[in-house]
């Protein structure tokens, strides 16, 4: 059931990410709906769910863009890995904490993706532009991730699923 619910959100997130145009400002970052699902899995589910979500989310994102297969998976794994490390130390599900976590992890994912695409020679970005874009994506992450967390929690409550805080 947990996997089904996460897959549902992954599909919804991917579709919304494609439908919503990238934000016009601060380097045009995309809205991180898929990343929010991965972070949710990293924060509230067993590790295997997070890994599955990161790999599937990566394939989904890469399929819906021009990125080579596996690049987004690496970025999502890195961001989710950071979230998993933070979860063990101090994390709570308060909106402000989720917001800060979302901002940080989105910036990490953007940075990893920028490095991979730059090394492969697929994008033309200066370090300043990359930094600006990371800042922009952090801002979007700070808004989108808490909203997605709330929605996912609400659905789980409706379905009578208990959160597995492992």
């Amino acid at each position: 059931m947990t996997l089904l619910s996460l897959l549902f959100w992954l599909l919804v997130g991917g579709t919304f990410q494609v439908l919503m145009p990238a934000w016009r400002y601060m380097g045009q970052p995309a809205f991180p709906f898929v990343l929010a699902v991965v972070l949710y899995a990293a924060m509230s589910k067993k590790s295997r769910y997070f890994v599955i979500m990161a790999l599937l989310g990566g394939i989904l994102e890469d399929s819906l863009s021009l990125a080579p297969l596996g690049f987004s998976g690496c970025a999502l794994l890195a961001a989710g890995g950071v979230a998993t490390l933070l979860r063990a130390d101090f994390f709570t599900f308060r909106a402000t904490a989720v917001s800060v976590l979302g901002a940080f992890c989105t910036a990490v994912a953007t940075g990893v993706m920028a490095i991979l695409l730059h090394v492969k020679g697929l994008i033309v970005l200066t370090p300043a532009e990359t930094g600006w874009r990371m800042l922009g994506s952090a801002l979007l992450g700070a808004i989108v991730v808490p909203v997605m967390f709330r929605l996912m929690q609400a659905l789980e409550r409706r379905l009578g699923m208990r959160e597995e805080m492992v």
Partner: protein, 295 residues
Amino acid sequence: MKDRRWIALCAIGLIVLAILNLPDTASLRVKGAVRDGLSPLQGALRGGVREVREIIRYVRGIGDLALENRALFEEIVYLRGEVRVARDLERDNQMLRELLGFSRRFPTRLISCEVIGRDSTGWWQTVRLDKGAESGVAEDRAVITPDGLLGRTVAVSDETADVLLLSDPTCKVSVRVARSGVLGIMTGLGGAPGEQPACRMDYMGLTADIQEGDEIVTSGLGGVFPKGLVAGRVTRVEVAADGLYRTAFLQINADLGRAEYGFVVATDADLQAAAKGLTEELTGTKTDLLGESAP
């Protein structure tokens, strides 16, 4: 416990490496399958949004409908006359080309497509069309709108095609100034679609005849874009930083940010290939069905 964690990490690493090193054909097949699988959902959602927008537009403009209708009617009459003249000119042109022994321009067909999505990561400026190889869309084909050039197809699956927009920094087009014939290379500036100026035209000599307001069309060189497609208009001309050539900044004619439809410029060969594929598929299905039903 620690051993298990290391084993899990190694397994993840191996899976990632395997995905990253998939052969191109397998990678394209996976991407195409995911894209085709999601395209009906995207199309339906996009259609819903468009319907709502149309209703709002209709309600807002209900008072001006009679006037708009009249204006459109006048435009139809005018355009019909233009088409008649253009047909005569086309016929004369072909006849003269044949007399001079020039080769015929390659025949093209337009495939109308609907925009159903955008790049999901925001790293590229692309839009996704609802038609792909099955409809005759091939890679590296020009995509136009009634206002002008939109971009070129870069990734084509069976049912969808991604279009790299003119404003993307990796999109380069060989263009010329319609008035003077000066050639140059147009490159996207990477700004958000709709922001101006969106493109730059480089590599024109210091004495090149180009000025503000000049119309820029495709030159036909390079083989991707047919000759004479309207790309944009010059907004500013400068001498490049190294002082060796002039650079013009362009405003793109097509509204890249709001494009809802596009026309892929396909060749007859593309359409024939699509028809052949479809026939083969149908024949294959027929054989399977016969095979299944056979006693």
